[in-house]
Amino acid sequence: MKFNRKDLVSIRDLTKEEIEFILEQAQSFKEINERVIKKVPTLRGKTVVTCFYEPSTRTRLSFEVAAKRLSADTLNFSASTSSVKKGETFLDTLKNIEALKSDVVIIRHPASGATKFASKILKASVVNAGDGINEHPTQALLDAFTILEKKGRIKGLNIIIAGDILHSRVARSNIFLLTKLGANVKVYAPPMMMPRDIEKTGVKIVKDFRDEIKEADVVMMLRVQLERQNKALFPSIREYAKFFGFKKEYLENLKNDAIIMHPGPMNRGVEISSEVADSDKSVILEQVENGIAVRMAILYLLIGSGGES
């Protein structure tokens, strides 16, 4: 297997084999995180820049820790969304970051396609840490890694993704990844939060969440962006929790070996009740932990190697 990509901007671009290869490589990096000295010299002298146009703590931390454990130097660039439109253009910012001789630029951006745009311009590797409503490929990879760890396989699993599918880049990347690897993916959302023609991406729509989770091996809850309430997308948090949240009564419907996932940060009592989040079926903290290994593997594959084969 070879991995000759310059960038990791979307799951859509990756082949099944590439995804499996990344997941396999991530396995080897997990061991490093369990050592006393959690550091290897692999990316010594390489520069990794995180370039975030949206507030995010956990994703940035996870990438930073991954880079540091590989001995890369890390730099952080933050820009508020407002300055994007007023001040320097994204293109100019990218060129400036390139001038710092960075090897990898990790970008989170509120506009869909922005990381693809960046990858076409920069000679450095670009990693997508979330672009608009489009994709969040490293999250999907760490989710898949966690599922593999818990279930031993992905092919043939029944997986339900529930929440605001329309605005969720996590959902999109997961749908692309899990269907590529042969899972039966279903989605559940309030109808106004369901993308048009979603069935054409190879997923089915869940009608009765409470009933259909009986068959599920994995239930993935998505974060509700509470600010969407003001944009008339849903009437109230109370009603959302009641009809679309994962309530504790539903736990008894789950299979014994089913797992519950959430990309974080959670709104307890909205899309997921505290009892569910803290239940023994929840693997939410493992997801966070696995994120580091997966991101180490990605950095290693992008710039740790000698390039063309």
Binding site: F90, F117, N134, R196, D197, K200
Partner: protein, 437 residues
């Protein structure tokens, strides 16, 4: 005084069978005769041998953004006119979203004055509302008297239905059409057509109903007031159905379609990987929409082709897809793009020429005839065999925002004659250069 020799003449109505010479004097076609004949009286005329190329009436575009005054870095009247000449156009209508907006006589006069220097005809379309704000009407009478040919707030729809009704009533008094940009702004919150490909691309979608319901609303208001209405750049099957419905009721409605909506789809947006040269308003439709738009153009439910030529500077388009301005340039590629429909037997060349010349002229009231003796010598020469790739270097427009760069087309305008004068010549000049070598 020129003679264009050895031409096949393709007119929308009147047929000429054979190869002809066209003699032009003082901007008028004074003679059309079979090419075998040597006519001594034209001995002093300059002769151009076109070797069997096709001559048609020159093209008319009723939907162009010239960006002048105010945005001359994108385009100005001269560069826009050069692009028009290259595309075979001699009559173009420019939209009101300039800075200042074409909402007063001074701007109309400025455009007309500068337009005269271009040697083609440039007709300003005045704004319906002051500053395109959708709040209060402009002085229709004064604007028309100054030379505005039609009225439009193109770029935005008028939210206030009462204001639009008033505009229709008032425009009727002056007998000018209102060109409607139909878009429900509450619904149009996305950046490409809502559907499978917006879902796959992860771009917020614009539902086709955002166009359709305002197509219905605007025609309904025009029907009620008994005014002329022209619907700009329709992009969906639903809009065609609504227009067909009103045409069957004999409502005075016409509409246009752009070359890009006849040739590209939402799938192209998806496959372009967020290339902002595929971002326009209305967004590209589905394959089904495209097929129906093509059929309806051939059938005549869609009256004409208009480019919606919308130049934007490179730095404006080299941004995130969502932040990029809408629109593409289209004058230079209008014919080659549409001619592919002729090659695919979707429409006849005669019909296509009709919908790029006489029909659009009629909608806005431009005097436009066929190629015949006594008519104004406004002629486009086309090489329907010429196959070439459209390159960024050849673009005459100041802006280079075209999704067709790098694509190969067969059938290109090679010479444009405006008021009896050759204003664009690609082919003959090249031929002469080759001969002199």
């Amino acid at each position: 005084m020129i003679v264009l020799k050895n031409l096949k003449i393709v007119n929308p109505v009147k047929d000429f069978n054979g190869i002809f010479n066209i003699a032009i004097k003082d901007g008028i076609i004074i003679d059309i005769y079979e090419s075998e004949l040597e006519k001594k009286e034209y001995r002093d005329f300059q002769h151009f041998d076109l070797k069997g190329k096709v001559a048609t009436p020159s093209f008319v575009d009723i939907h162009v953004h010239l960006r002048d005054p105010g945005y001359e870095y994108k385009e100005d009247i001269f560069s826009g006119a050069e692009a028009a000449k290259k595309g075979g156009f001699t009559d173009i209508c420019c939209m009101a979203n300039t800075n200042p907006v074409i909402d007063n006589e001074e701007v109309v006069k400025y455009i007309l004055k500068k337009g005269k220097e271009t040697k083609i005809n440039i007709y300003p379309v005045a704004a319906i509302t002051k500053g395109l704000k959708g709040e209060s009407l402009t002085e229709f009478g004064n604007l028309i008297e100054a030379g505005a040919i039609a009225l439009s707030d193109d770029g935005v729809d008028i939210r206030n239905a009462f204001l639009l009704k008033t505009a229709f009533e008032y425009a009727k008094f002056f007998n000018v059409p209102i060109l409607c940009h139909c878009e429900n702004l509450n619904l149009a919150t996305g950046f490409m057509r809502d559907g499978k490909y917006s879902t796959l691309a992860g771009i917020m979608g614009n539902p086709s109903i955002s166009e359709e319901i305002n197509v219905f609303r605007n025609i309904k208001i025009a029907e009620y007031t008994g005014s002329k209405v022209h619907i700009c750049h329709i992009s969906s099957k639903g809009s065609v159905e609504i227009i067909r419905f009103f045409k069957n009721k004999d409502v005075n409605v016409t509409c246009e379609v752009t070359p890009h909506h006849l040739s590209l789809t939402d799938k192209d947006v998806y496959e372009s990987d967020y290339d902002t040269n595929f971002k326009m308003n209305p967004p590209l439709g589905t394959e089904e929409d495209k097929e129906i738009l093509i059929e309806s153009l051939s059938e005549g439910i869609i009256d004409c082709v208009a480019t919606d030529h919308a130049p934007h500077a490179e730095h404006e388009k080299l941004v995130e897809f969502e932040y990029a301005p809408n629109g593409i340039i289209g004058l230079e590629t209008a014919f080659p793009v549409c001619y592919q429909l002729v090659l695919n037997n979707k429409i006849t060349l005669k019909d296509l020429i009709y919908r790029m010349t006489i029909k659009p002229a009629k909608i806005v009231g431009i005097e436009k005839g066929e190629i015949e003796v006594g008519a104004k010598a406004n002629i486009t020469i086309i090489d329907i065999e010429l196959e070439k790739v459209y390159t960024k270097d050849e673009i005459k427009s100041k802006s280079k925002n075209s999704p067709f760069i790098g694509r190969k087309f067969k059938g290109w305008p090679i010479m444009t004659i405006s008021n009896g004068e050759i204003v664009y010549d690609w082919w003959y000049k090249r031929l002469e250069e080759e001969l002199s070598k």
